[in-house]
Amino acid sequence: MIRRSLSLFAGLFVLILVVGWLMGLPFTSSRLVEAAAYALIALGLNIQWGYGGLFNFGIMGFLMLGGFAVTFMSYPVNAEFWGGDGPMLLGRALLAFALGVLLVLAARRSDRIGITGRWKATLVVLAWFVGYCVYRSQIDPAAAYIEANAGFVGGLGLNAVFGWIFGGILAAGVAYIVGKIALGLRTDYLAIATIGISEIIRALIKNMDWLTRGTLTVSPIPWPTPLPQDYQAGGADQVTALLLARGGYLALAIVVLGLAMWLVSRAYSGPWGRMMRAIRDNHIAAASMGKDVKSRQLEIFIFGSVLMGIGGAMLVSFTQIFDPSSYQPINHTFLIWVMIIVGGAGNNWGAVFGAVLIWLVWVVSEPVAKAIFETISYWSTTVGWSEIPDIESRSAQMRVFVLGLVITIALRYAPKGLIPERVRQDA
């Protein structure tokens, strides 16, 4: 088993070398940094699906939260916003929000004063509606004012690492709410509910222009490590500066990944991990042994989402641009699922292996498809047929097809993944 994993990782290393040789060092180095971030995200999904058996199809939402968090924490301070009436208006909107929450909570407790049954339900619905209207009446003018006078809220100008941490915290908070709502549902329902929630998050982040600038995008977001320009200012030539800067970022990303991996593996090999496996394999039996299935599942859902939030933040601060409309379910949810299925659910090394492998396949399939199409086009024109039109855009679409092909083949011939879960039997 160990030998198989080692040879697979050796093969992956050779693949990275081949890609580096064919596509050049700048391309490969940035893909590797992204692969490290995706490995962290895949680790998060591995906790949720591999350990907990939870069906999270809302990964995109958590990645967006991470991206927003790092933008908010690390983007320079917007003096126009803080100097104007914006903070005051936002404070009032926040008060209105709190008022709405209080109203709903009060309506839910109305049975204390003798209002029950249908009347209570009506009252709760009414409280929701009134709360919503009160909040809208405050937030709409605030949003319009900020968008007109300051553009958007801006950031706090802190180091990006704080943004990563905040991304994790934000994702944890949202995961708590989502988990409270959705974790009681069975698999298919949970999948659809999480997709729905991630679409709601996407719509909110995309359209709250006062907070995120929406489709106008925010850039440039600073790096936690020195940028290539900083090295160039210090006298290094262009290629060295690029490699040094990306190497620094990659080192930081790998440190975070290694730390997460160490913590997760420690937890999973202990009693906590055994309990999680028991809940995953038979939650009824686990519940009868006195395990609190619901709150354990909520716990694991939050842990996984934290890693997703941090990973999403790492991706955004690396590309230096936060573009809410670039988030797509295919690129940010299904891709991660393919990584886990191919790598091996329930095995951390499998998750990391799958993440790096699938990310390379995803980015390489476009140039490879282009080369294949050009060859076919060359032959077809030589024998007198017409050439293939729009090779550029067509080969870009091949990535999606290749992804689908990989997952169907994996499910058919290696349903447990390339590096399957290992369960120690001696304990």
């Binding site: 329902y189 509910a193 699922w337 689908g404 499910l411």
Partner: protein
Amino acid sequence: MTELVFFINQVVIAGAVLGCIYALGAVGITLIFGILRFAHFAHSELMTSGAFFAFMLAALFASWGIVTPIPTGFVVLPLAMVMSAIFALGIDKGFYAPLRKRGAKPVILLIASIGVTLMVQGLIRLFFGAGSYSFFETETKDVFRIDTSFLGSTRPLVITEPQLLMIVVTVISVLALHLFLTRSRLGKAMRAMADNADLAQVSGINTALVVRVTWVVAGALACMAGTMLALDVTLKPDLAFNIIIPIFAAAIVGGLGQAYGAIAGGLLIGFAESLAVFNWTMVLRPLNAVLPEWAQLPATLALVPTEYKLTVAFVILVVVLLVRPTGIFKGASS
């Protein structure tokens, strides 16, 4: 009366059109869930590919110079539905049947259906690119403007020819589906198997045949929904991928496994979406004359801003899952 006609144009017609499309898609999803017990994500791709089949047939008809009184998209629909049914059978044979034979869990089938989604979408984009197409490049889209001045309205009632046909075709196919499920032997077998697959098998129902019929019905209905959506807006590779979650919401709201629930859920979500973004000021404007200065209605008074239209379906979905997870019509919950 102008306000009422405006309301009908903006909410009733738009909601009915959207609701019909959601309902037809949701029926297929709910039938597959009832028989095979998994959420079939690739249904969106059945819809999109069905629309592309119809589009190719319509282009073929146009190149032969055949001119039809109604939009060609509707004329070629039966042929495209047959092609889609065969396509759905092929997908089942190629991707889902081997997994079922191995005894894979429904969850694995769900993931496999996502793989199928990606593959079909990749293929469609490979052949048709990422641009959009229209069924009405060679023929005109007739718009009926019904004069309502006899009611004292200054606006006409507006409905396009495809929209009118779409509602008619949906009603006919829902009736046909109802007769099939309640009167025919196969339809009864389908309902029996959805109720209890093992019991159906021991009482001599050919379950393999029922599975095939399910795919045929689901594929044909998906093709119909996709083509009609493409006729109403434009045809593009992510045509149905963007609305698969509202369709799932419709199926769940109606109760997964309940064909009639899916139709009700589809119409409910369609109307809710168009009602939520409706600008109430347009209807309530006469009130401005009686209201005092400080309480004048704002220019837009919609429940949710237009850019959040799609989230309405998700919010309904989440609320239904919370309050009544089995749906309005008590769906299957295995």
